[in-house]
């Protein structure tokens, strides 16, 4: 229901005002407060990672390595990768939106293990602090992939501490996943069957399964690298008969499913936004739900497609290429179902929907280029080039970050009780979309023409495309700064949002904005299907 700004609004008890003081936040067990703590932390890490990205693109304006030394550049791209992957993308949607919304979406008072939820945030903070310490004290230059024997024997940087930081960070991820799985199994309100669950929950369930099964493997792998650093003896060292390629197998066994940890929550957000802004139930609920599970399962079977030229046998390459084509299918199914959801809808193009449509476009391009990389005829040429860099940025940035921003805009009024400025929202969305494409489309061409990745200096003929890419990056950076400003500004100046400013379906919209500490006045009893937009207002209300 639309509300106009009231001079002195009646303020009910909610999770934000229920008590004040730093201790009440740092010792909270309320999943909503923990979500906000995460939001602040990962935003900080995002801008740190973005700072490194800026340095990279500035250096690559010219073919020569003239902005910084080669060693510094190698540290910069390494830390860009580590910070963005482990400290931003992996936690982003699950730890902020997932934490905030999952208990509400299922009609529960909190997650199954609220104290473990807080513990997972503290573990994240400790690991982030350690990583920042590494950054400030000489950095690490192995690439976020830590390939041996460079990382174990040859690098002269803080490999040990960086490995420990990521090791610790992994437990934050594992505990979040464990919490979500138990919550979804055991904390659903009466009547909330699996087939009535919002797809947001299905996707997060699949994500959590991957987190729980995959993260321990990167943990033990990096622990082995750390031991090898410390005592100069290990199993990845050819001098004692160890195999550096074994490291790659163990590393990618996690790191490939990790990319699905990064994209499944984005898909979760998509299902919620597209249904609301088309005023329709999702097309093919069961297929979208099962596609999430399919992605999680198949995602564990394709890791060596990162290793086609690493020295694996041709047989292995054939198998992993085939399986990689299998895993593309469920993602395609989801894109088609979201598109079909818009058919005969009543589509409103507010900021969250702009991000959602942008996601569909850019994720499609990213996914299509994945088909190139899965292809054994093409991959030996384009692997380890900017083609791969472009591919994964399309998915991670054009996909995951856009979905994250879309979700933030969609649930901002629920989390804060305030509405952001819609005009600025749209401006930022367009800047981000345009800036993103200009940054990364040229990189496909750079890759196919042969520019390898992680190059500090490059041959002069690659300059024009690099300049285009940097130009795009500057627009993208501006686009990212805008939401930081207008979101913060909305906390003080934004119009008060009502309980359900979007007239959306979902239990989270049936309670106040911001919600009370225990989410619901009374435990809901669910008797309706997910995305039951039949009886809701036929269009998204305008909030002044």
């Amino acid at each position: 229901m639309a509300t106009t700004a009231v001079a002195t609004p009646v303020v009910r008890e909610n999770y934000l005002n229920t008590n004040y003081g730093i201790k009440s936040w740092l010792l909270t067990t309320d999943h909503k407060r923990i979500a906000i703590l995460y939001l602040i932390s990962i935003t900080l890490m995002f801008f740190i990672g973005g700072f490194f990205a800026t340095l990279i693109r500035l250096e690559l304006l010219t073919p020569q390595g003239d902005l910084m030394t080669a060693d510094t550049y190698n540290k910069v791209f390494t830390m860009h990768g580590i910070v963005m992957v482990f400290f931003f993308l992996i936690p982003s949607i699950p730890a902020t939106l997932g934490n905030f919304l999952i208990p509400m979406m299922i009609g529960a008072k909190d997650l199954a293990f609220p104290r473990i939820n807080l513990l997972s945030w503290y573990i994240y903070i400790v690991s982030a602090a350690l990583m920042i310490y590494v950054i400030v004290n000489g950095g690490v230059d192995t690439g976020w992939t830590f390939y041996t024997p460079f990382s174990t024997t040859y690098s002269n940087t803080n490999v040990f501490l960086a490995g420990i930081a990521i090791f610790i960070n992994g437990f934050s991820s594992i505990l979040t996943g464990l919490n979500f799985i138990v919550t979804l199994h055991r904390m659903r309100a009466p009547g909330m069957t699996w087939s009535r669950l919002p797809l947001f929950c299905w996707s997060h369930y699949a994500t959590s399964v991957i987190q729980v099964l995959g993260t321990p493997v990167i943990a033990i792998t990096l622990a082995l690298v750390a031991i090898e650093r410390l005592w100069h003896i290990g199993i990845f060292d050819p001098k004692v008969g160890g195999d550096p390629v074994l490291f790659q197998h163990m590393f990618w066994f996690y790191s490939h499913p990790a990319v699905y940890i990064m994209i499944l929550p984005s898909m979760a957000v998509m299902s919620e936004i597209i249904t609301c802004f088309s005023r329709k139930r999702i097309f093919g609920y069961a297929f979208v739900a099962l596609a999430s599970i399919g992605i999680a399962v198949l995602g564990f079977l394709v890791w060596a497609h990162h290793m086609f030229v690493a020295g694996i046998s041709a047989y292995a390459a054939l198998v992993f290429s085939l399986l990689s084509y299998f895993v593309a299918v469920p993602s395609a199914i989801k894109v088609f179902n979201w598109t079909a959801t818009m058919y005969k809808g009543n589509v409103s193009l507010r900021t969250p929907m702009l991000y959602a449509l942008g996601f569909i476009g850019l994720f499609t391009i990213g996914g299509m280029t994945g088909l190139f990389l899965a292809n054994l005829g093409i991959d030996p040429h384009v692997t380890d080039t900017y083609f791969v860099v472009a591919h994964f940025h399309f998915i991670m940035v054009g996909g995951a970050v856009m979905a994250y921003l879309g979700g933030l805009h969609f649930w901002w009024p629920k989390m804060t009780g305030r509405m952001y400025n819609e005009l600025w929202g749209k401006v930022a969305a367009f800047l981000i979309f345009a800036g993103f494409n200009l940054t990364f489309l040229p990189q496909f061409i750079l890759g196919y023409t042969g520019m390898p990745r992680r190059y500090h200096a490059y041959v002069p003929e690659f300059q024009v495309l690099n300049v285009l890419s940097t130009a795009g990056a500057s627009i993208l950076a501006l686009g990212y700064l805008l939401p930081l400003i207008y979101f913060l500004s909305s906390l003080r100046n934004g119009p008060i949002a009502g309980d359900n400013p979007w007239a959306a379906q979902g239990l989270e919209w049936k309670t106040a904005s911001p919600p009370p500490t225990f989410n619901f006045e009374e435990t809901p009893v669910v008797t309706w299907e997910a995305y039951d937009y039949e009886d809701l207002p036929k269009e998204v209300p305008v909030v002044s």
């Binding site: 460079f150 046998s313 003929e461």
Partner: protein
Amino acid sequence: MFSNLPLWPSQASSLSGNVDLLYIFLILVTGLFTILVFAVVIFFAWKYRQAPDRHATQIEGSNALEATWTLIPFGIFMIMFVWGAAVYMRGVQPPPNAMEVYVVGKQWMWKLEHPEGVREINTLHVPVGKDVRLTMISQDVIHSFYVPAFRMKQDVLPGRYTTMWFHATKTGHYHLFCAEYCGTLHSGMIGEVVVMEPNEYQAWLSGNVNTGTLAMSGEKTFAELGCSSCHRSDTQGRGPDLAGLYGKPVALDNGTTVLADDNYLRDSILNPGSKIVSGFKPIMPTYNGIVNEEQLLSLVSYIKSLSQPQQGQPAAAPASVPLHTGRTQAPSAGNTKVK
């Protein structure tokens, strides 16, 4: 294209055209689907845009549609896979009688050695129209030998040989890049492949030979290190006779059989205790730390030369090895190769 805005790499090998054709096919198919998705999304966003008289129609789904847009993409993906696999299998199986070149990668340069004894740094001269097989190893970290014009790269590993082959089809100078991050000067580990007319190549070769062939230098090392005291062609040898060994199966004392390829020879010098030839005692000392990669390549080259009628001719690459690129066939592979 434009020299300062390349939009497509040169095609300079027999593989390049095949890869490019497949690439264009993929661009067309994925481009079509991408445009389709964009078009439908934009069309729906426009056609069903919010209007006062519009009411959304709730649609549960359609199994027929789901099946269609599952099976059609799956079918297309399978075509992509099969075509790609075909191109790949051609690309990783070196033809027999290919010309050999040895590559040693190290931080941060490429060392190339022709069997005739010519050594190059960061530049590889090859004749056009001939199959060339590279046998490569790293002295330190993982590198990757990448020639965009040939549409092929192969990681160069410490501890075992990997192989790559090409058939250059156009003369010229082509970029050579290291494509696996290897430290400080990773982006400086670049050079070029110079493809020449066969007669020019011969001229270049003979003009640059100032030492003996690689096999000859290997023969010298073989004697200097005392290998010949055990590995003899008469029956007095405490070690197996190496004449005619390369490319043949070898029976080990544990009942298995391995193929005597480049990796087997290298492993036998560095880690002789790991595979004992049937009928011999495990008494060969290890040369780990005594020989460097280049000496190893020259020894391997020498031993290979003992397997042809005439010295100086390249030995036949071991048959049916390629599916395990440069690796022995036996299950208990020597220096721990992970498939």
